[in-house]
């Protein structure tokens, strides 16, 4: 009787220790901070005259507006789509490309940054098997910082 009582008086801390150590290990493992990011290239000297006209004609440009429409332009051909239609619109354009698949993005100045990132996220989400369909996402450099893709 006294023996069984003395045994029961100890709380079994083994599960607690297990949980604590597991948590500790999880924290230790996640310590190297991951810098989650969407990589955006800034093309050098895009406004330079050295860029051959026939190459720039093939570039795919995406311009997201505040009203939710996204203007996808390939060369001179333009079409206006919404966010959900963007992947299916842009996929054939890129799959036809033989060179690096670069997409230039620009956004209306008044568009919230969060929405801009959502558009870029959709573009990054395009898959070509295991790889991303787009090799590079590049910011469309402007001649005038105040002039966005919707003006002029």
């Amino acid at each position: 009787m006294s023996q069984s009582r003395s045994r029961k008086s100890d709380i079994n801390v083994t599960p607690l220790v297990d949980v604590v150590f597991t948590l500790l290990i999880i924290f230790l493992v996640t310590m190297p901070i991951l810098m989650r990011n969407i990589s955006l290239e800034i093309p050098p000297e895009l406004d330079d005259d050295e860029v051959p006209a026939d190459q720039s004609g093939d570039t795919v440009t995406v311009c997201a507006r505040l009203d939710g429409t996204i203007v996808v332009a390939e060369g001179t051909a333009e079409q206006s789509v919404n966010l959900s239609e963007l992947p299916q619109t842009i996929r054939p354009m890129l799959e036809a490309k033989t060179t690096d698949r670069v997409v230039f993005v620009d956004f209306e100045n008044s568009l919230p940054y969060g929405d801009a990132v959502r558009v870029m996220d959709r573009l990054k989400g395009l898959r070509d098997g295991e790889d991303t369909l787009i090799d590079q996402l590049a910011v469309l450099t402007r001649d005038d910082a105040q002039m966005d893709c919707t003006s002029g």
Partner: protein, 156 residues
């Protein structure tokens, strides 16, 4: 005689044994309390330190699904807060020019390699019109790639 003696001894031992057994039943468990204490304290220390380890001023960032998640490459960090205030790492700067100087200073440090990459942390609710001049200013000092900081997408 000898046998009897041995028997007696055994009997004595048998009599003593229950006492010993009870003693040992108390001490056969290792006292894990200090271990638990140490583990819990370590856990708390790590929980407190982990958010502090984040580089650059802590701001909410847009949530994305298809981001890359490389380990910290020691690149300079530029932060744009919800009121448009610029920060280089955690230090507030007044103008894009000052930000350029700040990034250059980061690159001049021995432990930072200039790879032409800057990590940009921007709050989601700010206009792109405020972000673009910063990207443009970074471009001027030779940044070829901005890593737009994001957070893991969580479905609510």
């Amino acid at each position: 005689m000898d046998l009897d003696g041995a028997k007696e001894k055994r009997k004595k031992r048998n009599k003593i044994r229950p006492v010993k057994k009870r003693e040992s039943s108390v001490s056969d468990n290792i006292d894990v309390t200090p271990l638990v204490n140490v583990a819990l304290i370590l856990l708390i220390i790590f929980m407190v330190i982990t958010p502090e380890m984040e580089r650059g001023k802590s701001v909410p960032m847009p949530e994305t699904e298809f981001h890359a998640a490389p380990e910290d490459a020691n690149q300079p960090i530029v932060v744009i807060d919800s009121d448009g205030t610029l920060y280089v790492d955690r230090d507030e700067v007044d103008s894009p020019e000052e930000m350029q100087e700040g990034v250059q200073e980061e690159w001049d440090r021995d432990d930072v390699e200039n790879t032409g990459t800057v990590y940009l942390k921007v709050v989601p609710d700010i206009d792109y019109g405020t972000v673009y001049p910063v990207i443009d200013a970074l471009h001027e000092i030779g940044v070829r790639n901005v890593e737009l900081g994001t957070e893991e997408y969580r479905e609510i």
